[in-house]
């Protein structure tokens, strides 16, 4: 594994190896990479948790992190992604972590580039490190994937989390169901009501309403979304005994979920953030040491 671009490129075995390695990191194991690798984080869209999580993971595996101001770079002068990444390679990077607005921006990096490329989100495409931390969180909870019922709720068509997770979860034997307003289903077959979904779900995976990406329907307010698709006290009370709530965050409190439930006992929302660091350590180690996973 040289790059991490899309969950579609990962086999179940590769997913499980990342999960197992992340668990070792969570148990306190240290990595000692063969050398101090140089890494840069190119975030062309705002991000707190993904960027900061990578920054932390990079330091924990002993990388030197070279700062890169995406909002103040030569990309503003019209430089291509290829030229930006090739430049960073010549300066001495071993890996780059990239978030960009364009779907599959990484296609122009597949040839001629010799640094490891980690996709931290491409437009409405994929977000594989988020997906792997979600899988890690689920696996940590249930110790396997086979036969679990996961309900993904929200703006399916625009969500890279939904796409990345649906791909991987189905392949791992999970029964994935989508719940969303009809306008947001995209190519997916989706439910439009919680009826019959809330009671038997092992995981309720809420997606963020991405105000900043689009407004499907201006008459569709936050309040009406919350009323029909938000996770309320009433719904939470109907969940299975060991079922959990997930959300990639940032949460719109009282939209996707009642604010008081964000840190309730079955919520794994902040655990996901914590797990992300271990998963990204495993990703970095795998790519930088070119391990044949």
């Amino acid at each position: 594994m040289r790059n991490l671009l899309s969950m579609e490129h990962l086999s179940n075995e590769e997913v499980m190896q990342i999960i197992e390695r992340a668990a070792q990191f969570e148990d306190g194991e240290m990595t000692r990479l063969e050398k101090s690798y140089n890494v840069a984080n190119l975030f062309f869209e705002p991000s707190t948790r993904t960027k900061t999580s990578f920054e932390m993971a990079e330091r924990k595996v002993g990388c030197t992190v070279i700062p890169f101001d995406a909002d103040f770079s030569s990309a503003l002068k019209g430089e291509t992604m290829y030229d930006t990444v090739k430049t960073l390679e010549m300066i001495g990077m071993d890996a780059v972590v990239i978030r960009a607005k364009e779907d599959e921006y990484y296609n122009e990096l597949l040839e001629g580039i010799n640094v490891a490329v980690i996709n931290a989100g491409d437009g409405a495409g994929q977000h594989p490190s988020q997906s792997l931390l979600d899988l890690y969180t689920i696996h940590k909870e249930f110790s396997s994937f086979e036969g679990l019922k996961v309900t993904i709720v929200g703006d399916i068509s625009h969500s890279r989390v939904a796409k990345s997770n649906a791909t991987a979860l189905k392949r791992l034997g999970v029964n994935v169901r989508f719940l969303c307003p009809p306008e947001w289903a995209g190519d997916f077959e989706a439910y439009h009501s919680w009826d019959g979904l809330i009671e038997d779900s092992d995981v309720i995976m809420l997606l963020r309403i991405q105000h900043e990406r689009h407004v499907i329907n201006k008459s569709f307010s936050k309040e009406s979304y919350h009323e029909q698709y938000g996770l309320t006290f009433e719904l939470e009370a109907k969940m299975k005994k060991n079922a959990i709530i997930m959300h990639p965050a940032p949460v719109n409190r009282d939209v996707e979920i009642v604010s008081e439930l964000v840190e309730c006992e079955r919520s794994r929302i902040f655990d996901q953030v914590r797990n992300g660091v271990f998963v990204r350590m495993a990703i970095l180690e795998t790519l930088l040491e070119g391990r044949s996973i």
Copy 2:
């Protein structure tokens, strides 16, 4: 002491312990914290000296500093301060340094947050690390506070420096006087002329005219401010033999003070910047090691 939010929370003893520890750092003592703590600096307003000073102090006490772009973060997506800081806690921070526009933004961090919070300025509220470095600078000069006369000059009502310092100085036995245009006195009792103040002050503490925060009166020009309240050669000549000039900077040269006086013999303006690093090292050590000061 777990957080540093406002000078009002610090006892005289705590202030003196920070001052004494900072003096040891200035004398070349090294700190060896028990472990390498992780710190992030969240500056939601522009800053050179405070942010850079913390960045330096953090490295000098051996912290790992994880970069955080406040102007490019999920706060732009409407994330609450609580959720941002909780996220950073889960990623592994031990402390966060925050500057924000909202007065007392830190109130939402008092419960549920387990990282140390250092307030680096809240709106028109407090700026305790600046205050502590001011106190350090005065103490270094006069070896005690009792009976000193300090005149604070400028936009009292909007200045967090004025508020933080007035609180602490009075409690330490200093005679604090305010000088400002009547419109800028706020709740403070203030003088409106240098007469009787310049000759017996031990410290003239100039405040910055904060163009970016407000315009009290558009007809009140920089020139007329300088004429009535600026520190001129004539005024400087009337100061006591050992009296000093202070300013939190950035200075508006030829507004608060004649440009040529910024580095005059009795100016401590750039010394304050230097002292700030030692004081912030003492703050970080105190909070991170949870010393019972």
Copy 3:
């Protein structure tokens, strides 16, 4: 040598010493500076390669790099360059690397400042570290400068690269020729056609069309520039056997040069980026250790 501000301040001997030291770094030699120096990079204009290259070089010579957000600093509050740099000196910097919009902004830093100042580009003025890496690249190729023919092509009058390089190359015995549209010659005597230049040039040094700085003539399109002054397959085929192509980048592909030639055999465009790190390591070592070169 205390500062690096302009190629005009460097003797041929100083240039050669930097080149020789950079070559040692490229050969794998390590530097061990006497102490860990503190450095800040103040980039008031967007930059990828220069800033990132300095960031890498600083770490490779063992500096501690203190982050500085130029687009979010007190400079926004109208602070002078002198006060900003003096502040950084008091905070503990040993050197600052500065890129700024104003020509010769460094003149206000010549007195009263005790940190080393490295000019990383001043308006339409100089860019000495870029010039030194260009010289390094040429010297690496031809092992000497004497008698070489270098043709500089593009917006001569607005290019700091052209100015810095012309100064140094001529003094080193190079025959420098300029090729550009008549409007862009400025004070230089220039050719306006490739005829007679392409066949005998040892180095074709292309400059970047700087859209962001000016539009000389709105009717002068990218296409017409490419047609008359761009490096095409036809021209490349006429170049001398060992002649090389250089460009400071970022390249406007298919404007200054046909996209497919950017990584052709005789192109040194990405090598220049790689060389830049070694050259900047040599610059930092020289300035920080105050070597009498």
